[in-house]
Amino acid sequence: MHEMSLCQGVLKILQEQADIQNYSRVNSVTLEIGELSTAVPESMEMCFDAITRGTLADGAELIIVRTRGEAWCRKCEDVVPVKERFGPCPRCDGTDVELRAGDALRIQELEVD
């Protein structure tokens, strides 16, 4: 259940940015959670709700953007969609693949007051 720690990280960034970007209230947070990342979106929603109570992001909407897994297959010499982080190429079944996208855990933007 490391989503609680991840949400603590999000809240810490929101608090730090409040001074830098001059806001006092967060209305929504857009997170990019890659399909091959280590976080489960449903857990993030639950933890975010719990951890932001009584903070500047109390009640803020959590918008989760899922990005798909993509890897470079050296045999196919092409970008291929992947469903598992270390799975084989879906076209040639080869294992010489390098992940290109889909493992990000990132805050993209906030709507603030």
């Binding site: 259940m1 999000v10 730090e16 940015q17 270390f86 294992t95 805050i107 993209q108 906030l110 603030v112």
Partner: protein, 294 residues
Amino acid sequence: MCLTCGCGQPGHVHSHDGHSHDHDHDHDHDHDHDHDHDHGHSHDHDHGHDHSHEHASSMGVTHDADLSTARVVQIEQDILSVNNRHADANRQFLKERGIFTVNFVSSPGSGKTTLLARTITDMKEKFPFSVVEGDQQTENDAERIRATGAAATQVNTGKGCHLDAHMVGHALGHLNPDAESVLFIENVGNLICPSAFDLGEAHKIVVLSVTEGEDKPLKYPDMFYEADLMILNKVDLLPYLTFDVDRCIAFAKQVNPDIRILQVSATAGDGLDEWYDWLSARRDATIAAKNRAN
């Protein structure tokens, strides 16, 4: 008091290298435009711009930048950036003192604590050790380490399933490990969550015991991907098991082609010399790097 987290515990390491992004763009509009879209939220453009245009809005509304103070802020920050900042501070602290640090990860019951206690007992005449023990609760593992004569700090994570760099920073403050020593961090027994958290270590070592399934590297790939060394433990029990070592190694290499694998028994002593050579060589390199920097 810790100024970063306000937690009241002194002596741990923080760095403040947070950076801010300012988007300062002025733009001028001088055009007519029709828009036919549906605003579910209000926009505030807080950057200086100069509009000179006519709206032909289908909604018949006038957009006024001052009506609401709500605005959108682009952040683009990794969620783990706060942990990673603490990890960088830990790494810097350890590097300056020439302390070689490894983060042991595994499922519960793989024999991590037994391996650590045996290693310290066999090697403590050669160099000093200290240990950060992570468990959900109890002081048991730290006591097992202290019985070897090494200093140990127990971190109880409570409901937490892993150590993070901030906790380790605190533990370093308590332990105050000797320069040129070896620091072992024994993470919470969990093959999932600890993989995501850099603690400032030089290497993650994943311990897998042959009493577990040989397909663990495929079931929990993140951990095997993050580790530089896999220690296959309890190999003295292989005659009594159906564990296929070659298949296990192939699975680990499939996830992480660069992973090094050692086969040991922390109780019977098989393969430990090779492990001690690995450890000694990297400790020497850490000290040499410190001396070159000074």
